[in-house]
């Protein structure tokens, strides 16, 4: 068990999807009606693949991750749709059943490593707790050995000493490595990483995304990488899903979506990023802001901000349809007339 290279057994089988989300709808009922936070989201991730999920704040990207893990806060609920993990349907399971899946089959990495670790316990104690919770057959010593091997695997120097240190004794980047070790503790099939690098400095960010990529490829773990940073997506993800106002509006291989985006929103988003290469006088800007959930316009949610919007966009909601190697939800690609 102490051999770090075998700590997470690879079970790569490109034929099947590790995670499959079908037509997921998440609703938050309140006094004034029902807010639809996710509207008909479908996506899948293969083993060993990193799917980037991008969007602005409030687009529903974190909500998708939470819904998959069964962590929606009440009164939020999955109104319809299905979530399949390794061929098993996991939406609608009881809290107790989900607890067994979280940590064991789905690992989670959150944005702020300081709040996702308990400051009162050493990182070793937290790792051992997770390991023994899901692998009761391991003794205390074996679990500690595994904790040390995990810390070594995520690149923490002197893991035999560091295992007894407390979270505050680690720097931000090292802390995020500990969180990754926690997520990996019991060989999950899927890791949901929600803004894992946002709280870190750029030079550390590159270390963490590199680590995620290496672990994902070596162990065949599927990764859902939720971020608002297109640069991180470009350098880390294999495929990318773009979300807007709770809907999935474009999905495809990362090169295609970033180089030749099919949806006008993705196109605008890409153009509004200041380029490192050349300086322009005026940045492209998308006027307005994403609608709030209680004021999503009829038809395509993006139509009030879209330069190409026609009468059909204001009337009917476009569905995700194949465009080139990916898919986009835009009337422009269906018959070419908005």
């Amino acid at each position: 068990m102490d051999d770090p290279s075998r700590i997470v057994q690879a079970k790569a089988d490109p034929g099947h999807n590790c995670l499959e989300v079908r037509n997921l709808v998440v609703e938050f009922p309140n006094r004034h009606g029902t807010l639809r936070a996710l509207d008909d989201v479908s996506l899948s991730i293969r083993p060993g693949e990193i799917l980037g999920v991008v969007g602005e704040s409030g687009a529903g990207k974190s909500m998708t991750g939470l819904a998959i893990q069964g962590l929606l806060e009440r009164p939020g609920r999955i109104a319809s749709g299905e979530v399949w993990l390794e061929g098993r349907r996991i939406d609608g399971l009881s809290d107790r059943q989900m607890e067994k899946i979280r940590g064991k089959e789905i690992g989670a990495i959150f944005q702020d490593p300081l709040t996702s670790l308990n400051p009162l316990f050493s990182v070793g104690a937290q790792l051992v707790e997770t390991i023994r919770q899901h692998m009761p057959e391991l003794g205390k010593a074996a679990a500690r050995g595994r904790a040390i091997a995990l810390l070594k695997e995520v690149g923490i120097p002197a893991p035999e000493e560091r295992v007894d240190h407390f979270p505050h004794q680690f720097s931000g980047g090292m802390r995020q490595r500990v969180v990754i070790a926690l997520a990996l503790a019991v060989n999950p099939r899927l890791i949901i990483a929600d803004e894992p690098t946002t709280a870190l400095d750029v030079s550390i960010q590159a270390q963490i995304t590199g680590l995620l990529r290496r672990l994902c490829k070596e162990h065949g773990t599927a990764v859902m990488l939720v971020t608002h940073d297109m640069g991180v997506i470009a350098e880390t993800a294999d495929r990318v899903a773009v979300m807007y106002a709770g809907r999935l509006i474009e999905i495809g291989p990362v090169e295609t979506v970033l180089k030749s985006p099919a949806h006008p929103y993705t196109r605008g988003l890409m153009a509004s990023i200041p380029a490192l290469g050349a300086r322009v006088e005026h940045l492209h800007q998308i006027d307005g802001a994403m609608p709030r959930l209680n004021a999503i316009p009829p038809g395509c949610a993006f139509n009030p901000r879209c330069a190409a919007a026609g009468p059909r966009c204001r009337r009917d909601e476009p569905a995700l349809a194949p465009v080139g190697q990916g898919a986009a939800a835009c009337w422009l690609h269906e018959g070419g007339v908005a």
């Binding site: 602005e56 750029v202 960010q205 270390q207 990529r213 880390t236 800007q285 998308i286 802001a289």
Partner: protein, 320 residues
């Protein structure tokens, strides 16, 4: 941007230390020592009138402390901050735009009162009617509606709130704006709106900016000159194009190499190891030597001075 370049702000040998000692009783009972954090050491730079100077660096490098020193929120421990005379003859007045538009606007005040506060406080307008006219004008300048003044901050999106912050900063007709990470709390599509607005205001009102950011692509878009800071010191300072075309300090090169690039992603890059050391206990000599690929014994022993090169760049490195 103006062609005739006079200096708007001259900062010389700026120093700021913070007392981070343990409480008095701990010192007496446990013999713990006083501790001082050297947040900014020997920082000198100048900002040309009508231009934009940027400070970049990772968290803890002292860039926000410099911003607060310049606006007078902190007093310098040593060194000098000198504003050139403005249009009126008195030294240029500076205003600040903060990072988080959710925290920097009072949630219980209506927007018109938030913007009017500097006008009332500094008695810049005589009558209430004049104040309201000016507020409406300011809202128009930043691209909001005059009717928006009656609303509360929570009714606005992040980008609109940052517009309100800008309107408040412009209320006292400053000639110098210190912008501390003005777009890092915003989404990219909104960030572009705010950056465009700031560029437009610079051209129309002849503003001078001191821009603080950790995002090199934003900095490149906005600034004429860039100073890179590391552990409280400027390690390289150059014109924007010079810095990007020919970065001389190994830390600048590290920063440029590690930013994820959307247009030209390097998926197989080897990330540089190491992290920023604690500013409480900075390394000896050149503070970057712990992470520097070029470091020698000389770097560990002797701190390099900031030296001006032929192309106008200033670099603090023994090997530049």
């Amino acid at each position: 941007m103006t062609t005739a370049r006079t200096t708007a702000l001259e900062v010389t040998n700026l120093d700021r230390t913070f007392d981070v000692s343990p409480p008095f009783l701990n010192r007496v009972l446990y013999g713990q020592k006083r501790r001082h954090l050297h947040a900014v050491s020997d920082v000198s730079f100048s900002v040309p009138a009508g231009g934009c100077m940027s400070l970049v660096g990772e968290s803890g490098c002292g860039k926000s402390t410099v911003a607060r020193l310049v606006t007078g929120i902190y007093a310098p421990t040593a060194g000098e901050i000198r504003f050139a005379p403005g249009k009126s003859g008195a030294p240029l007045s500076a205003q600040m735009i903060f990072q988080d538009p959710y925290a920097s606007l009072n949630p219980r005040w209506r927007v018109k009162n938030i913007i009017a506060e500097p006008l009332r406080e500094l008695k810049l307008r005589a009558t209430e009617a004049e104040i309201q006219d000016r507020v409406a004008e300011l809202l128009g300048i930043v691209g909001l509606n005059a009717a928006d003044g009656a609303k509360f901050p929570h009714e606005f999106s992040g980008g609109q709130r940052q517009r309100i912050s800008i309107a408040r900063a412009l209320a006292s007709e400053p000639e110098f704006l210190v912008c501390d990470e003005p777009t890092s709390a915003l989404d990219v599509s909104v960030q572009a709106q705010i950056l465009n607005l700031m560029r437009k205001l610079q051209d129309e009102l002849g503003l001078t900016y001191l821009f603080i950011s950790h995002d090199l692509s934003v900095v490149r878009h906005m600034s004429d000159r860039i100073a890179v800071m590391y552990l409280g010191r400027i390690v390289e300072e150059a014109a924007t194009e010079t810095l990007f075309a020919d970065p001389k300090h190994p830390y600048t090169r590290l920063l440029l190499q590690t930013i994820p690039n959307v247009n030209d992603p390097q998926r197989d890059r080897v990330a540089a190891e190491g992290e920023v050391p604690s500013p409480l206990n900075p390394p000896s000599g050149c503070t970057f030597h712990t992470r520097c690929p070029l470091a020698t014994d000389q770097c560990k022993a002797q701190r390099p001075e900031l030296v001006e090169k032929a192309d106008g760049a200033r670099v603090a490195c023994h090997f530049a």
